[in-house]
């Protein structure tokens, strides 16, 4: 994949909005004037309760959906003008549920190459070694049936599969929702390593404070489709500026999770 030179690869949201028609015909605002920047080599976290619009937001980045208004830039270029197939190689996405295609782990990792009509790298190739190393999966696992792997392992395959395209931006939608605490901690350190080694911009949607506390550089709090508060992660968590965010943090389920 060609490397862009000059500007740091980054994603920029400028006044992005999404409206939908409800079944009754009323206009529903899903996202309202969203503006933020995700920098290269940084992890941007988007947190909020379910229904706050965070999943919709992340789906706009790789154009699984298009915004109703506003602009999203990748390296200063409007993503609406980029071929979606090329865009999705530059901006990889890890969906919430790790979907495994039928076949072995190796075949799952080879899929993205087949989509591009390219000869896939073999099990012994450097490329496979690189992605397996990034997500800490042993090479012996390559022959295993992907659907027989554990949830945590599937999540790693999911991540590795997104990385084979050498993306500039990595999107993750609720990556820890099916994971227990130790697996979450492992994933957090993996993401942190990937971000620094591969020099990616990572955008992660989560309702889990663990990721926000441990690896997120830039934190965005979303409520009912609006950004209520954004800033440096640790600072925001220790000194929330808005009542809304303070209330969100004070919810008992979150207190328990973050202290465990």
């Amino acid at each position: 994949m060609e490397q862009t030179s000059g500007n740091d690869p980054l994603v920029e949201f400028i006044d992005v909005g999404v409206t939908k028609l409800s079944p009754a015909g009323a206009i529903m605002v899903i996202l309202d004037r969203i503006s933020f920047t995700a920098q290269q080599g940084q992890i941007t976290g988007i947190i909020g309760a379910s229904g706050s619009g965070k999943s919709t937001l992340i789906r706009l980045c790789n154009r699984l959906d298009d915004p109703s208004e506003g602009t999203i830039l990748l390296n200063g270029q409007n993503i609406a003008t980029i071929d979606p197939l090329l865009l999705r190689r530059k901006i990889a996405m890890v969906l919430q549920k790790p979907f495994m295609f039928e076949g072995t782990l190796l075949e799952n990792l080879q899929r993205p190459f087949l989509f591009r009509n390219m000869a896939p790298p073999s099990a012994k190739s450097e490329e496979m070694a690189r992605v397996l190393d990034l997500v800490q999966l042993p090479a012996e696992m390559l022959d295993r049936d992907a659907r027989s792997l554990s949830g945590g392992e599937q999540q790693r395959v999911n991540l590795a599969r997104a990385l084979v395209n050498h993306p500039e931006v990595l999107l993750l939608d609720e990556p820890t929702s099916a994971l227990d605490r130790p697996s979450t901690a492992r994933l957090a350190s993996t993401l942190s390593n990937i971000c620094h080694n591969e020099h990616l911009a990572i955008i992660v949607v989560t309702h889990d404070l663990y990721l926000a506390e441990h690896i997120v550089n830039h934190l965005i709090y979303l409520e009912e489709g609006r950004i209520i508060e954004q800033g440096a992660g640790t600072q925001m968590l220790t000194m929330p500026q808005t009542t809304a965010f303070r209330n969100f943090l004070a919810q008992p389920e979150r207190k328990q999770k973050s202290s465990s």
């Binding site: 699984l64 959906d65 190689r89 969906l95 899929r111 993205p112 989509f115 395209n165």
Partner: protein, 261 residues
């Protein structure tokens, strides 16, 4: 060969046959199955529809000109399209346009090829050939069409995760829907494939039986049956192919996005 006289069933004979429906009704009542009403209603429909179509065919045969034959075929196609559509609960976007155009091209093309080039009777509209042959082709293709359309919709619905996962990895809409397309096409062809394999062993096909009853030499009746099964398979294949190929696109935008439900 056609010098055998077929017995023209008279009213008394028909009433005697209808006694068997009454017997079925009595058995249904005896078993407390509770579908007597349905049985009665269906048998009445069968009775009136067939008598009506009989007189209509009689008329069309008597006029012996292309217009009534073509109108009749169009009406048959319209009805079967409507039946196919009403059977499906979850219709794909642009259902009527996709299915309608596929049937017109698929069945129309195969019927044209089969009647004019394979059988090669003349004049081309001869209702004795065109109506039963086209009728069988359309009827079977319609079943295939509704299976293809229904299966495609349900596959696209059930495979949303898989499809969006593939799209996110840089797949085109076609690549991401590959499995759904394949399964829908295979589901549409399955009954025709099974029929071909079972025909002659499990059951004697209707057309062949009819021809034999009306005095056709069995060897010739069999040839017709082989030919029509080939035509049916071709029509089902072309129609279903067109439906899945046009159909899957309706679930995506130009930008390879899966449309919301």
């Amino acid at each position: 060969m056609n010098n055998l006289h077929i017995i023209p069933l008279n009213v008394i004979q028909l009433v005697s046959a209808y006694a068997l429906i009454l017997l079925s009704l009595a058995l249904a009542r005896l078993q407390h199955i509770g579908h007597e009403k349905q049985l009665l209603w269906s048998s009445m429909r069968m009775l009136f529809q067939l008598i009506a179509v009989g007189y209509l065919l009689h008329l069309v045969f008597a006029i012996n000109s292309p217009l009534p034959v073509v109108l009749m075929l169009l009406a048959m196609a319209g009805f079967s399209l409507q039946v196919a559509g009403s059977r499906i609960k979850k219709r794909m976007p642009n259902f009527w346009r996709v299915v309608g155009s596929s049937i017109i091209i698929g069945c129309g093309g195969v019927t044209f090829y089969f009647c004019l080039l394979v059988v090669g009777y003349s004049p081309w509209f001869d209702p004795r050939y065109l109506i039963p042959l086209a009728g069988m082709i359309f009827g079977n293709a319609m079943n295939g069409a509704s299976l293809a359309a229904e299966r495609l919709s349900s596959e696209m619905h059930e495979r949303r995760e898989e499809i969006e996962c593939a799209l996110s990895l840089g797949a085109t809409s076609r690549q991401s829907a590959q499995e759904a397309i394949r399964n829908a096409y295979s589901a549409a062809l399955r009954p025709t494939i099974n029929t071909m394999a079972a025909t002659g062993i499990v059951a004697l096909p209707g057309m062949m039986t009819g021809q034999i009853l009306s005095g056709t030499e069995p060897i010739i009746a069999v040839r017709y049956q082989i030919a029509i099964l080939c035509a049916i398979t071709g029509a089902v294949a072309v129609t279903s192919f067109l439906i899945v190929q046009q159909g899957y696109r309706r679930f995506f935008t130009e930008a390879h996005q899966l449309k919301g439900e």
